[in-house]
């Protein structure tokens, strides 16, 4: 999977790694504004640049096995990748697609959900293909597969 350098247009190889709570203490507060140590979740993942381990984004998940559902509790893109001067594209998309892939692997049919801020509902629907489940947004099956194919493709170098 790749992120795109906004300036050069070059693609940079990345990987998603699961992190333990103790590793979160080393998280730079200038890069990530949410308090990741206080997140109530089951699994936390980081998107890092493969070559040097530089952290581009973080995602916290709750695994709700009885509903065959993964809830994205928190997803944050590093400060240097937010706004007009951001370095890389696709960070949030890769993390969401990773959650979809996990959901398939857990036997949840690719179902993921999240609760967005009201102002962002249409953005999530339009950009990633979410649909409304009341206050939650969710997706599964073909929509999740589409997201995986879009953001986790590893064929090109």
């Amino acid at each position: 999977m790749w992120v795109v350098d906004k300036v050069s247009g070059h693609r940079v190889k990345t990987r998603v790694v699961e992190v333990m709570p103790i590793q979160l203490k080393r998280l730079s507060k200038s890069d990530f504004r949410f308090d990741w140590l206080k997140v109530d979740c089951d699994e936390i993942y980081q998107l890092v640049i493969s070559a040097d381990g530089y952290i581009l984004g973080m995602m916290a998940l709750k695994v709700i096995a009885e509903e065959l559902r993964i809830e994205i509790c928190l997803l944050e893109v590093s400060a240097s990748n937010v706004g007009k001067g951001k370095e890389f594209e696709n960070i949030a998309g890769i993390l969401l697609a990773h959650a979809c892939k996990l959901s398939f692997k857990y036997g949840f049919f690719g179902f993921i959900s999240l609760i967005p801020k009201t102002a962002l509902v249409s953005h999530y629907k339009k950009k990633y293909g979410f649909v409304s489940y009341g206050t939650h947004l969710g997706m599964d099956l073909e929509r999740s597969e589409k997201l995986i194919n879009k953001y986790l493709a590893k064929d090109k170098s």
Binding site: F104, I115, T135
Partner: protein
Amino acid sequence: MASTKKEIGVAPHGLSAAAKAKADEVIKIRRFKRLSEMDQSKRLYATLLALKYRIEDYLAHDIYDQSYSFGEFLKEYTSILNLKRKELAQDLHIHETKFSRLVTNREDPNLEILLRIEAHSGDILQATLLYQLLSRKVMAHLKADTKMKKQQRKLVKNKVVV
């Protein structure tokens, strides 16, 4: 401000406990409804995708794990489809004995068999992916089998001197 928020990602939901519980109840009901409406073909499709993703993840790491051998894959594929080995062997136009040898890893599949599985799985499990699975075993074998290496070296004449 709105565009910056979009790029940050998913913020804490900020709902009260009661509002969150209500939202969770709604999605739970709709989720179960969706699951009850999901037909067998969709379930099968998702299960095969899950198998594909597990193989992809295994191949992304530079290790050889016998539980990801071609034989184990074939066992799981048979199980997902809820078929008997004999039935899948017939579907793939393979003799039952050969199929049994593939399942027990006493024989490796040729490219034709990989292409047949690709077609049989509705192109979800592509031959190129299965070939990589097979290659991983061959690579491990080439690295580990020093006895074979020694035997073959004895047969070589006029080695290039560097």
